[in-house]
C-alpha cells in the first residue's frame, strides 16, 4: 500500500497522463486524477492527500481558486501544493505563491524536475 497520495488536477488528459507517468517513478506514491478544480475538490473530500498538483488555466474552477479553497479546508489546509502551468510571468508565480502554493513549475515540464520537487515537498 502506498505511503503517500497525490492529487493531480489538470484538464488536459495528455498532461495528466504525462504527470502521472512521471510520478509513477516515485516509490510509495499513488496518484488520483481530477479534470478541473471542482472535480479536484470532490476528490479531496473523498480522501486524504499528502500533496496536490494543479494546473492554473482550467474550465469550471481554475487552479488559483482551488488553492484558495484548499487553504481554507480544515483537513487539507496544510497540504503542499504544486502549480504546473503555462503561465511563466513572474506576477503569476507571485500571485500563486501568495495564495498559498508551495511550488511553481512552468510547462513544458521535465519529469526529473517534477519528481524532485514532489520529493522535496513530501520530505522524502
Amino acid at each position: 500500500m502506498a505511503e503517500y497520495t497525490c492529487l493531480v488536477v489538470e484538464d488536459s488528459p495528455m498532461m495528466r497522463q504525462l504527470i502521472t507517468f512521471a510520478l509513477s517513478r516515485i516509490k510509495n506514491l499513488s496518484v488520483v486524477e481530477a479534470d478541473d478544480g471542482v472535480d479536484g475538490l470532490k476528490k479531496l473530500a473523498q480522501g486524504r492527500f499528502d500533496i496536490v498538483i494543479t494546473d492554473i488555466n482550467m474550465p469550471i474552477m481554475d487552479g488559483l481558486k482551488l488553492v484558495k479553497r484548499i487553504r481554507s479546508d480544515a483537513i487539507h489546509k496544510d497540504v503542499p501544493i504544486m502549480i504546473i502551468t503555462t503561465e511563466g510571468a513572474e506576477e503569476d508565480r507571485q500571485r500563486a505563491l501568495l495564495l498559498g502554493a508551495n511550488s511553481y513549475i512552468t510547462k513544458p515540464i521535465q519529469a526529473p524536475q517534477v519528481i524532485s520537487k514532489v520529493k522535496e515537498l513530501l520530505k522524502m
Binding site: M14, M15, L18, A22, P108, A111
Partner: protein, 280 residues
C-alpha cells in the same frame, strides 16, 4: 760480602745479620703490602671498568632493540602507505565509476522522459477518431509539450492550377484566420511542397508573423498540411532535443490521425468503418 768474609775466613757479626734480616723482611713485607694495595686498586679499577662496560653493553642492547622496533615500525608504515595508495586508487576508480553511473543515469532519465513524452503524445493522437479531438490533441501537444505560445495548423486544399494551404486551427494568432498560403510560396508553402521541416532559432526570431517553425504533415508521399509555430512561451527559450523528436512524430502521426479522423467522420462511425474490412 758474607761469602767473601767466609772465604777469607772472617766471621760476620750475628747482630748485624739479624738486623739485616729484619730489614730485609721489613722491606719485603712493605713491598708486598704496597704491591697488594696496588693490586687491590687495580682490581677495583677493573671492576669499575667491567661495570661500565656492562652498562654500556646494556645500553647498546637497548639501542639495538629500539632500532629493531623502529625498523619494524618503518616497515609497517611503508606497508600501510602502500595499502593507503591502493585504497586511494580503488576509491578514485570507484568514484569515476560512480560518476559514470550518474552520467548514464541522467542520460537514461532524459531518454525515459523523452520517450514518455512521445508515448503520451502518440497515445493521445491515435486515441481519438474525431477531427475536433485530433485538433485538440495537436493543440495540447504544441502548447504543453513543445511550449508554443502561438501556432496554426494549415491543411492542404486542392485548387485549380495550384494547391493552397488553409488554416483550420489557430491559437493566439488571429492574423492567419481567413488567409491562404499558396503552394511552394514563402516558408510555409515551401515546407509543404518540399516536405522539409523548418526550425528557426527562437533567440533570433521571436514573435511576429514570421514562422518560427514549420512541420509538414506527410502521409505516404502526400503532404496533408503544415503545423506552423509563430511564438514560444515566455519561459521557453529554445528548442531542445525532445522537441525535434516531437516534430518528427507530429510530421508522421498527425497526418494519419487527421486523415483517419476525417474519413471516420465521413463513413458514419465504427460499425460503418468496420464494414470496409468485409471487402478484404
Amino acid at each position: 760480602m758474607a761469602e767473601d768474609n767466609k772465604r777469607e775466613g772472617k766471621s760476620e757479626d750475628p747482630l748485624n745479620l739479624t738486623a739485616k734480616r729484619e730489614e730485609f723482611l721489613d722491606n719485603f713485607f712493605k713491598r708486598g703490602a704496597h704491591f697488594t694495595t696496588e693490586l687491590l686498586g687495580e682490581i677495583d679499577s677493573l671492576r669499575k671498568r667491567v661495570s661500565n662496560l656492562s652498562d654500556e653493553n646494556a645500553n647498546l642492547q637497548t639501542h639495538l632493540a629500539s632500532d629493531d622496533a623502529i625498523r619494524d615500525l618503518l616497515t609497517t608504515i611503508e606497508k600501510l602507505e602502500e595499502d593507503k595508495h591502493k585504497l586511494r586508487t580503488r576509491m578514485k576508480d570507484a568514484d569515476n565509476e560512480n560518476r559514470n553511473y550518474i552520467d548514464r543515469y541522467a542520460v537514461v532519465e532524459a531518454e525515459l522522459d523523452g520517450m514518455a513524452n512521445l508515448y503520451v503524445a502518440s497515445f493521445q493522437l491515435h486515441g481519438t477518431l474525431q477531427p475536433e479531438g485530433v485538433l485538440s490533441v495537436l493543440d495540447q501537444m504544441l502548447m504543453q509539450f513543445v511550449g508554443a505560445a502561438s501556432f496554426a495548423i494549415f491543411l492542404r486544399q486542392p485548387a485549380d492550377g495550384t494547391d493552397l494551404l488553409i488554416p483550420v486551427h489557430a491559437f493566439h494568432c488571429d492574423s492567419v484566420k481567413g488567409t491562404t498560403v499558396p503552394w511552394n510560396q514563402g516558408i510555409i508553402g515551401e515546407s509543404a511542397a518540399t516536405q522539409v521541416s523548418h526550425v528557426g532559432d527562437p533567440s533570433i526570431s521571436r514573435g511576429g508573423d514570421e514562422p518560427l517553425a514549420c512541420i509538414p504533415m506527410v502521409l505516404g508521399n502526400e503532404t496533408v498540411g503544415v503545423i506552423v509555430i509563430f511564438e514560444l512561451l515566455e519561459q521557453k527559450e529554445k528548442f531542445v532535443e525532445i522537441d525535434y523528436e516531437l516534430f518528427k512524430l507530429l510530421a508522421l502521426h498527425s497526418a494519419s490521425a487527421i486523415v483517419g479522423a476525417g474519413l471516420f467522420s465521413k463513413t458514419g462511425g465504427i460499425a460503418a468503418s468496420l464494414n470496409e474490412y468485409k471487402r478484404l
